[in-house]
C-alpha cells in the first residue's frame, strides 16, 4: 500500500514538473549548473568505466572463445556490439545512479529537512520548477552524451586490451566490430540512456524532495534513491530490450 501511495506521489511530482517545464526563465541558471554537475563532472568516471569495461570484456571474450573454430575478429564483433547495445548504457547508468542520484537526493533531502524548500515556497517560488525540472532535464540531456563517451572509450579500451595482451591487432578488432555494427544499435543505446537519465534523476529528486526526519531521513532517502535507481535502470533496460529489439 505504501508503495502505491509513493508511486502516486511520484506521478504527481512528475505531473507538476511537466506542467512547469515551460517556465524556462525560472530554472535556466539551475539547468546550466546541473548540466555541468551531471554532464561535465561525470566525464572522468564515465571514461574510466568505459575503458575498463571494454578492456575486461575483450580479455574475457578471448578467454571464452579460445578455439580455432572462430576467426579471431569475432572478439571485436562481440565486444563492439555488447558495448554499444548494452554495457555502455547500463554500466554507465549504474555508476551514475550512484554518483548523480546520490548527490541529487542528498541535496534535495537536506534542503527539505532544513526547510529551505519551504522557504522557497513561502517566497513564492514553485519549488518543483526551481529544483526538480532542471535536474531531470539535465539528466535526460546529458546521459546520451555520457553514453557516447562511454561507448567510444569502451571500444578504445577493447582495442587497447586486445593489442596489449596480443589477442588480436587493432585492425582485426575493428574489422570484427564493423562487421556487426548496426546504426539501430546506437539509436537503441541512446534511447536507453535517455530513459536511464530520466529514471535516475526523477527517482532521486522524488526521494530527496519527500525526505523527512533530519540527517537520518536524508541518509535513508539517499540510500533508497540509489537502490531504487539501480533497480529501475535494470528493469527499464529489460522493458526497452523487450519492446525495441
Amino acid at each position: 500500500m505504501e508503495a502505491i501511495r509513493q508511486f502516486g506521489q511520484y506521478t504527481l511530482l512528475l505531473y507538476q514538473a511537466l506542467r512547469s517545464v515551460t517556465e524556462f526563465s525560472t530554472y535556466r541558471n539551475n539547468l546550466f549548473a546541473e548540466f555541468v554537475k551531471i554532464g561535465y563532472q561525470s566525464i572522468p568516471i564515465i571514461m574510466l568505466t568505459g575503458v575498463f569495461t571494454g578492456a575486461v570484456l575483450t580479455l574475457q571474450t578471448a578467454y571464452q572463445l579460445d578455439t580455432d573454430l572462430y576467426p579471431v575478429t569475432i572478439v571485436g564483433s562481440i565486444v563492439g556490439q555488447s558495448i554499444i547495445i548494452e554495457l555502455a548504457a547500463v554500466i554507465g547508468g549504474l555508476v551514475l545512479a550512484g554518483k548523480v542520484g546520490a548527490r541529487i537526493s542528498t541535496e534535495l533531502g537536506t534542503m527539505r529537512v532544513s526547510e529551505q524548500i519551504d522557504a522557497l515556497e513561502s517566497m513564492g517560488f514553485n519549488s518543483v520548477t526551481f529544483l526538480v525540472v532542471p535536474r531531470v532535464l539535465a539528466g535526460i540531456c546529458m546521459f546520451p552524451v555520457l553514453y557516447i563517451t562511454a561507448a567510444t572509450l569502451g571500444i578504445c579500451g577493447g582495442v587497447l586490451a586486445g593489442a596489449i595482451d596480443g589477442i588480436l591487432p587493432p585492425a582485426q578488432f575493428m574489422q570484427g566490430a564493423r562487421q556487426f555494427f548496426f546504426p539501430e544499435d546506437v539509436v537503441f543505446g541512446i534511447v536507453k540512456s535517455f530513459v536511464f537519465g530520466f529514471v535516475i534523476t526523477s527517482i532521486s529528486c522524488f526521494k530527496g524532495y519527500t525526505a523527512f526526519g533530519g540527517a537520518e531521513g536524508v541518509g535513508n532517502a539517499t540510500t533508497q534513491a540509489t537502490v531504487l535507481s539501480c533497480i529501475y535502470v535494470l528493469l527499464s533496460d529489460f522493458v526497452l530490450a523487450a519492446i525495441l529489439l
Binding site: Y40, I148, T149, T152, P183
Partner: protein, 309 residues
C-alpha cells in the same frame, strides 16, 4: 583556467557530437572526411552476405555492403554498395558474389570490363554469383553420398569375403606357414653343413670374375675391333634391309597387279577358263587314251603301220 558553466557545457556537448558523428562514420567503414559513392546491384539470393561485408576490386578492398533489401515484386535482393576508394567502375562490369566459405563470410568482387564508359554513382551494375565450395557440396552432395554408399557396400562385401576366406582357409594358411618354416630349417641345415663348399665356390667365382676382368682389360683392342666390325656389319644389315624392303615393295606391287590387273599372269590366276579348258582337255585325252587301249584297231587301221615302215 576558470571555465564558466556555459563553456563547459559547450565543450562537452560539442565533443560528444563530434565523437558521435565521426565514430558513426568510422564504424560504418566510411571515410571520415570524403563522401561515399553508392552502387547498386541485384542477386537472386545473397546467402552469407551481411551489412558490412567487404567489396573488393582486383583483390583490393574498395568498400562495403551498406544495405540489403528484398524486392518482393522481382523476388530478388537489392544490394547497396558503398565505395570508399577513388575508383571508377566501367559499363559492362559486374559484381561477383563469392559464396560463403566454411566460416560463413561472403564477399563481393567487382569485375571490371574493358569498356571506357563509366557507370554513374548511384547507378546499377549486374550481379553474378560464383559457386563456392559449400554450393558445390550441396549440389553434388546427393550423388556423392550415393557413390560413397556404393563404395562402402563394396568395401563391406570385400571385407566379409576376406573374413570367410580367412575362416575357410585358415588351416591351409597355417600348414603353408609350417611347411615354409620346415623348408627354411632344411635350407639352413644345408647351408651350415656345406658352408665350406659354398665358401670355396664363392672364392672360385670371384677368381673367375677377376680373370674375366683382366681378360677384358688385355683384349680391349680386340674387343673394340670386334665392336667396329659389328658396327659395320649392322650398317650392312641396314642397307640389306633397305634393299629387302624395296624388293618386298616391288614384289607387293607385282602381286597386287597379278591380283587385280589384266595381264597374263593375272588372268591365269583369276580367270578360270584356262583351267576349265585344260581340265576338259585332260578329260578328253583320258577318254582318248582309254579308247585307244580298248580299241587299238580303230586307230591302227588308220595309222597303217605298213605305210609308216
Amino acid at each position: 583556467m576558470n571555465l564558466n558553466n556555459e563553456l563547459k557545457i559547450g565543450i562537452v556537448v560539442l565533443t560528444a557530437t563530434i565523437i558521435a558523428f565521426f565514430g558513426f562514420r568510422f564504424m560504418r567503414d566510411e571515410p571520415l572526411f570524403s563522401s561515399v559513392n553508392i552502387l547498386n546491384t541485384k542477386y537472386e539470393s545473397v546467402e552469407g552476405l551481411i551489412r558490412g561485408s567487404s567489396v573488393y576490386m582486383k583483390g583490393f578492398k574498395v568498400g562495403s555492403v551498406r544495405q540489403l533489401q528484398y524486392l518482393p515484386e522481382e523476388d530478388s535482393v537489392l544490394v547497396v554498395i558503398s565505395i570508399t576508394e577513388p575508383i571508377q567502375v566501367t559499363k559492362g562490369s559486374y559484381a561477383l558474389l563469392a559464396s560463403p566459405d566454411f566460416l560463413g563470410s561472403a564477399t563481393i568482387q567487382i569485375m571490371k570490363s574493358r569498356n571506357s564508359e563509366i557507370v554513374e554513382w548511384e547507378g546499377f551494375i549486374p550481379g553474378k554469383k560464383k559457386t563456392g565450395i559449400l554450393d558445390a557440396f550441396s549440389s553434388e552432395g546427393a550423388s556423392m553420398a550415393d557413390s560413397v554408399q556404393v563404395t562402402l557396400d563394396l568395401v563391406n562385401n570385400l571385407l566379409r569375403g576376406m573374413n570367410e576366406i580367412e575362416n575357410g582357409a585358415a588351416s591351409d594358411i597355417k600348414s603353408t606357414v609350417s611347411n615354409f618354416k620346415s623348408f627354411s630349417e632344411v635350407l639352413e641345415n644345408v647351408i651350415t653343413s656345406r658352408k665350406h663348399e659354398i665358401d670355396s665356390m664363392i672364392v672360385a667365382t670371384n677368381t673367375t670374375m677377376q680373370n674375366l676382368s683382366s681378360l677384358s682389360d688385355s683384349s680391349s683392342e680386340d674387343v673394340s675391333a670386334l665392336l667396329s666390325n659389328l658396327e659395320a656389319f649392322s650398317a650392312d644389315l641396314d642397307e640389306l634391309s633397305a634393299s629387302l624392303e624395296q624388293s618386298s615393295q616391288s614384289l607387293e606391287s607385282i602381286l597386287s597387279k597379278m591380283d587385280t590387273g589384266d595381264g597374263t599372269l593375272s588372268k591365269m590366276l583369276n580367270d578360270p577358263s584356262l583351267y576349265n579348258n585344260l581340265d576338259s582337255l585332260t578329260f578328253n585325252l583320258n577318254e582318248l587314251i582309254q579308247n585307244i587301249q580298248e580299241n587299238p584297231k580303230d586307230y591302227l587301221k588308220h595309222m597303217r603301220l605298213i605305210e609308216i615302215f
